[in-house]
Symmetry: C2
Subunit: 348 residues, 2 copies
């Protein structure tokens, strides 16, 4: 945990007049042509010419969205960016800039924030985006990160949640449930550590699912793939809260129903084996786990030949008329209504 690190520490109050945000971001490069002015003025200045702009924002709160006892700060910085880029890609847009604001208590030394910003910088580098603004302030308790992501899209290429039509195919990228199962493993190891701080966790059987939790990726590659395949989804959303929740958003906004096939839901073998170990149903985990940051989208039937052979994409169901409702078609061929999840964060 961050307080236990035995290394040189610089108190945030020692920084004096020198702006913390400038210190943390001084080595960040500007790569996007659209960035005219980045950090260091009252606002960033951007130039998109004939493109449309997409803007998305998210908050990550310590103790709600992350636990620093197993989430290294560098990973957290990386993940905070990814979570937001995922929303931009879900518009079928290209991410170009982010602003990052943090509220942080005095218990964090400067070096901890440097780790956080190293993760932010890595994500910016990997995804080719610019960090163009931010704010750094103190908090009474813990760490909070607010990211706003900006992207560009050619007019007409943007994909909303509300365009799905009956008979469209329901498609998802990658696989589901891994980040949730990674979290279960990390939570278990935390409990073991509390009892015996000398225990060495063996995470080897869980490398994929733990990485999906600690260092998720956003599917920039899928947006490019769809463009290369000349497929424009009719509707799209990213899978942040779990597949069932995202299907409900997409169908509700598109005013359609759907059939989701349990046997088509893509699961990694590590998810299946870890679910068995934890005595959890893997379909429930995929439906409700969340934090997958995959893209869920619909395409018209005529695009099926373009996507069917692609290992990155799984057709998991069909869009139906609104009156037919939303159902999971199980392996036993029974039809179970897809139900609403409560809003977990406020139920504690």
């Amino acid at each position: 945990m961050i307080e236990d690190k035995n290394q040189q520490k610089t108190q945030l109050s020692d920084l004096g007049e020198f702006g913390l945000i400038e210190h943390l971001t001084k080595n960040f490069e500007i790569k996007q042509k659209s960035t005219i002015k980045g950090i260091g003025d009252d606002a960033a200045v951007l130039n998109f010419e004939d493109k449309r702009i997409v803007v998305s924002t998210d908050l990550l709160v310590e103790g709600v969205h992350f636990d620093l006892s197993y989430m290294p700060l560098k990973h957290l910085g990386y993940k905070a960016i990814i979570v937001n880029l995922s929303d931009i890609y879900a518009m079928n847009a290209e991410a170009t800039q982010v602003t990052v604001s943090i509220a942080v208590s005095n218990r964090f030394p400067l070096e901890a924030l440097e780790d956080l910003y190293a993760g932010i910088e890595t994500a910016a580098h990997v995804y080719g985006i610019d960090v163009v603004g931010g704010d750094t302030t103190s908090s009474n308790k813990g760490l909070l990160i607010s990211v706003t992501a900006i992207g560009e899209v050619k007019p007409g290429n943007e994909v909303y949640r509300d365009g799905a039509k009956p008979n469209d195919l329901l498609v998802v990228s990658g696989d589901l449930g891994a980040a949730y199962m990674g979290l279960q493993v990390l939570e278990r190891e935390k409990e073991v550590y509390k009892v015996n701080p000398n225990s060495q966790p063996d995470l080897e059987p869980y490398t994929y699912i733990v990485e999906r939790q600690l260092k998720p990726e956003a599917r920039k590659d899928i947006v490019k793939l769809l463009a290369d395949l000349d497929v424009k989804p009719t509707a799209m959303i990213d899978v942040s809260d779990g597949l069932s929740s995202e299907i409900m958003h997409l169908c509700s906004q598109s005013k359609v129903g759907c059939d989701l096939y349990e046997n088509k839901i893509p699961l990694d073998p590590q998810v299946i084996s870890t679910c068995e170990e934890f005595n959890l149903d893997s379909t429930t985990v995929a439906l409700n786990g969340g934090e997958d940051y995959e893209l869920l989208f619909t395409v018209s039937q005529e695009d099926f030949p373009k996507i069917k052979a692609n290992p990155n994409l799984s057709v998991i169901g069909f869009i139906k008329e609104e009156k037919e409702g939303l159902h999971l078609v199980t392996r036993a061929e029974t039809r179970i209504p897809i139900k609403a999840q409560g809003w977990k964060n406020f139920n504690d």
Copy 2:
């Protein structure tokens, strides 16, 4: 205080599947031509055609930036928007959209957040901007508001902090120090209330300064005025942290020095009288108080005739060569170096 209100309360956890942000923003109107898609998808979609975009972001944290014991939530919502718009106007740009994210603990009922959003909506209405996105999540403690403001500016019209030249005039809009003195009055009344909850504060002599603290305005009108006068500032910054801090930013980025004349600093009579009552030096309050949200800018001497008669603008000094340093020229004609302030938030 918010917990004491004796009215119908809806727990946030009762909202179930219905998104809080959608509930809070469902009556918000879209007014800007550039807003193509607002709240309700993964991201907002904006269209600026041949304009450049300016983006700024700020965090407001309970207990650090505001105290709910004297800050009504509606005012807080209004102020959270104003603080960010001020940064957009400081670029000589027109504010067009905001995204608003909040982290909030369970102690706030839905009705409290509705008050907050009523203030946000009022600010959006008064300033003609659209609320196009946001995120709502729980926090372990208190309330935190993150706002990102977006604006547009004709290419070439943007004004940075780094363009001031020797012999330029240093100009400020409005008057300074009032928000800080309003805070002193409110803090005093809070202490009185703690001792005697039945006391009725008489804020009549302090109406202007209390309003400057609780319901500040951003100087959209000054950006329009400068355009009408055909004056393009050489450099501009908004006064959020106090005049001395902003002068230092502007001069440091422009690589210039300056002389600031104490007797030219614009002060409202209520600031002068309240400073006397609190035994504070009004110049110190204007220099270090902060939260004025006025615009501080420099213009070339040839623009002096255009601005000299304007009651909204005060010429308070001159830009000098960098090697001459930054000085306050007092009423007694002594020259005092303008010094750095520590970063207050991290010093507690």
